[in-house]
């Protein structure tokens, strides 16, 4: 195992490596089945800068999420993109780090309103496969200076370089939060209710469905939240859940608690909200499942989590084909990248060759995936 204590040591470690490296933060979101000598980045930890009045945080990549959450909470702030804790779902233990969150673009229910991790990432520093330390973006909210390599690194799972530092936009914790809970609807009607809410002017910050119930979240100033909840309730039959109880519902949605501890494979689908129910039903019909038990819908239906028995790959690919993207996060052949078109695969391979020409991070290559015929 290699444990660099500084960016300089990391540069040295990569430049002198002769075989593939397995980049590891807390190990909670790593690519399953990846191989290589462990390059542990938890030695690169600490807060570099925190300006609450500028909503800006700069941290080293190995900094634990829990430490960041505590620091922000003390100033009544938080990471707006609500990074999920997938340890329960993926059967991992360890300490989640911000580098892993950035490298996997880990984004929770609030993506529908406040954006994903990639949208909150203002800047990165990373070391590429040649051992060059590279900076992109910065620490300010608006920045179009040069190419946006920040986005390229977000969700690249360490295939192009090792993150050493991440700048983030943070947000204030709103004073009030309520969730509208809608029961007694089937998937089609329950998801349609979420789409209606997202299409309303009431600034919905969460729209999910699990266990036969649909959930709609509102956050903000107390008076505003109460007003908007009333307006939405006029459109649908819902009970109201407030503050801590509401937060608990969204922690469960975020971490996909409903599918934790299930045997078989865990799948993640990105589809059009109007296609979500149909695609889930099609897959589950093919393998004899049931959406009430096996599916969790987030992002108004744009994100579908499925717990499926092993070997459902063909059923998933057939249902999603041309209508979105699907990845298997847990199970045999699990990988964070979906098959891409021939042209996109070629660009991906060429970028990989530029940033990691010696295959230092080859165990996690996005090109090991199939190409869509």
């Amino acid at each position: 195992m290699i444990l660099p204590r500084s960016e300089g040591e990391l540069v040295e470690a990569i430049a002198s490596a002769t075989s593939p490296l397995l980049v590891k933060g807390g190990g909670t979101r790593m690519i399953a089945n990846a191989q290589g000598e462990v390059l542990d980045i938890t030695g690169l930890s600490g807060i570099k800068l925190y300006e609450p009045a500028a909503l800006t945080l700069v941290v080293q990549a190995g900094t634990p999420l829990a430490q960041i959450n505590t620091l922000l909470a003390d100033e009544r702030q938080r990471l707006g993109f609500e990074p999920p804790d997938l340890r329960g779902l993926l059967g991992r233990d360890g300490v989640s780090t911000i580098g892993g969150i950035a490298a996997s673009n880990a984004s929770g229910p609030r993506r529908v309103q406040g954006g994903a991790a990639r949208d909150a990432m203002l800047g990165v520093r990373f070391v590429d496969g040649r051992g060059a330390a590279i900076s992109s973006g910065g620490r300010v909210m608006k920045n179009v200076t040069g190419y946006d390599l920040v986005k390229l690194m977000a969700g690249s799972f360490g295939t192009l370089g090792v993150l050493t530092e991440v700048s983030l936009k943070v947000q204030s914790i709103p004073e009030a939060e309520v969730t509208l809970v809608l029961g007694g609807l089937d998937d089609a009607a329950g998801l349609a209710a979420l789409r209606r809410a997202l299409g309303s002017p009431y600034d919905v910050s969460g729209a999910a469905r699990a266990g036969g119930r649909s959930y709609i979240r509102l956050e903000g100033m107390a008076g505003s939240v109460a007003y908007r909840a009333e307006r939405l309730r006029a459109q649908c039959d819902a009970t109201l859940v407030e503050n801590a109880q509401s937060a608990a519902i969204w922690a469960d949605i975020r971490d996909v608690s409903a599918l934790q501890g299930r045997a078989g494979d865990i799948w993640r689908l990105s589809v059009l909200p109007t296609d979500a129910a149909g695609i889930a039903v099609e897959i589950l019909a093919a393998i004899g499942g049931d959406t009430l038990r096996d599916a969790v819908y987030d992002w108004g239906g744009g994100l579908v989590w499925l717990a499926l028995p092993a070997g459902a790959d063909d059923a998933v690919r057939a249902a999603v084909n041309g209508r979105g993207a699907a990845i298997k996060l847990r199970g045999t052949g699990a990988a964070p990248f979906a098959p891409q078109s021939a042209q996109v695969s070629a660009l991906t391979a060429a970028l990989k060759a530029q940033f990691d020409p010696f295959g230092r991070f080859a165990a996690q290559s996005p090109m090991s995936q199939k190409v869509i015929p």
Partner: protein, 478 residues
């Protein structure tokens, strides 16, 4: 501004290049009459002009691909163009280039309110995207000041922002997917209406790449439901520092207004003389806008009022009706025009950490005195995106050079305090040679490697973004 010497081989083959383009494209799509190509000699950075070799105005993705294939085969540089509103010279031609304009491709291909996206050809103007969906209560959030004229193609190339991005983000946060033609004529789709494709975020790196990676011909854009209403307040202060502190306190209190705009005295005076918006004669003023239903706006503005009161404003005016709201925005929206009345100006757009606001404003004042050129400041205070407007006289010998030198000093200052060279206009030609102020050679090399992947022959908008010396070998300029 130095431009590479035009390639004489290309210039000498002008007739052949135009003939091949004419043969491949429908009648009226290729312009080579010097009288007509002059229309394309500059964008909104009008201090620099150069007519291109020819202009092509395709009507479809297939025609864009056909034009690019020909230019690629003949080794002719291509400068993509949306509406030509770039303030950074992003669409500025060279004598040996073909300008590829997408302005004729302005159709709406699909609107999907349930899934909240619109699919458009990228020649469509920013404001007309909102125009296509507002009857159903939706809008497209990024709102650059040039939104009446600027095209989505240019918005994507420059990752454009606007006054309301404090709440809604910039183009990259509202872009779901694109159809793009690479320099070799290959048509690719990145992302799509469903957003996440579980691959490398190529869409994210294409957005803001200043037309150097491909020509984006179609885009899926996120549309949002319109808030029930909006109301601005005007807050005037006797000191820029106090105004800056007020902005910090509002953000710190967890209030996120949809816009916080800042104007300083030179800018206020110029706009008053021009637009008569009724602004007080003061050192600094803020325009803060709240959104929502009437009671929600009341709730937010009452808190803003309480915070502002702690800073002893000399005026706090809440728009009582639509007419007054318009008047409050009038001065801000005509600020550039008003400064233009006073003479030629250069508009910078460096971004700074908001905590550095007062220091930077003071330093800009000192630099302005030192260089003997007036500078007005009007900017998006919530996100630190400055817009210093430097006044100069284009007809006075040496004034432009002096203005550019002052501009460079101000941008270096922005980087020095932890900010960046450009918040929303892009680098283009204008700030190309300042890139080493913000980036190391390794940083620039990494960016250029991305261009190597998408455009190995470096024919797309080649002499922009990177310092000429840094990109010389790749451009074959030896």
């Amino acid at each position: 501004m130095e431009m590479p010497r035009p390639n004489s081989m290309i210039l000498s083959r002008r007739a052949q290049i135009v003939a091949q383009l004419r043969a491949a494209l429908p009648a009226g799509c290729v312009i080579d009459d010097p009288m007509e190509t002059r229309v394309y000699e500059c964008d909104a950075l009008s201090a620099y002009r150069c007519a291109p070799l020819a202009v092509v105005l395709p009507r479809s993705t297939a025609e864009v691909a056909a034009a690019l294939r020909i230019c690629h085969a003949l080794g002719v540089p291509v400068v993509p163009r949306g509406s030509g509103t770039s303030l950074a010279g992003g669409a500025m031609p060279s004598a040996d280039c073909v300008v590829l304009g997408v302005a004729r491709m302005n159709a709406v291909l699909d609107t999907d309110y349930e899934n909240r996206f619109i699919h458009v050809q990228t020649g469509r103007t920013n404001l007309s995207v909102t125009g296509a969906v507002e009857a159903r209560g939706f809008f497209y959030a990024p709102d650059p000041s040039s939104q009446l004229a600027c095209a989505i193609a240019g918005n994507i190339a420059m990752n454009s922002g606007g006054a309301h991005c404090l709440k809604y983000g910039v183009t990259t946060n509202n872009l779901l997917g694109v159809t793009m033609v690479k320099m070799d004529g290959t048509v690719i789709t990145l992302g799509g209406p469903w957003g996440d494709g579980f691959g490398l975020d190529l869409l994210g790196v294409v957005c803001g790449s200043e037309g150097q990676l491909g020509v984006v011909t179609e885009a899926w854009l996120r549309i949002l439901p319109k808030p029930e209403g909006a109301r601005p307040v005007l807050v005037a202060f006797n000191s820029s520092e106090v105004a800056g502190a007020c902005v910090a306190d509002i953000i710190r209190a967890g209030i996120l207004p949809v816009a916080i705009e800042f104007m300083d005295r030179p800018c206020i005076r110029a706009t008053e003389a021009f637009a008569h918006a009724g602004y007080p004669d003061c050192e600094a003023l803020l325009i803060i806008e709240a959104e929502g239903s009437a009671p929600e706006i009341d709730e937010q503005l009452s808190r803003i009022r309480a915070i502002a009161a702690r800073h002893n404003p000399i005026e706090f005016t809440e728009a009582a009706d639509e007419a007054q709201a318009k008047r409050i925005w009038l001065g801000r929206k005509s600020a550039f025009g008003a400064m233009g009345q006073m003479g030629d100006y250069m508009c910078l757009d460096g971004t700074i950490p908001v905590s550095q606001l007062s220091y930077v404003l003071r330093r800009i004042g000192e630099l302005s005195t030192e260089y003997g050129l007036d500078v007005g400041n009007v900017f998006h205070a919530g996100d630190g995106n400055m817009h210093p407007l430097i006044l100069y006289n284009a007809n006075k010998d040496g004034d432009l050079a002096k203005c550019e030198a002052l501009g460079a000093e101000i941008l270096k200052l922005c980087v020095q305090v932890g900010g960046c060279l450009s918040g929303e206009h892009g680098i283009g030609l204008e700030k190309r040679d300042l890139m080493p102020v913000q980036f190391t050679p390794a940083d620039l090399e990494a960016q250029m490697r991305v261009k190597d992947v998408f455009d190995p022959s470096w024919l797309l908008n080649p002499a922009k973004v990177f310092p000429l010396a840094a990109s010389a070998a790749r451009r074959g300029d030896t």
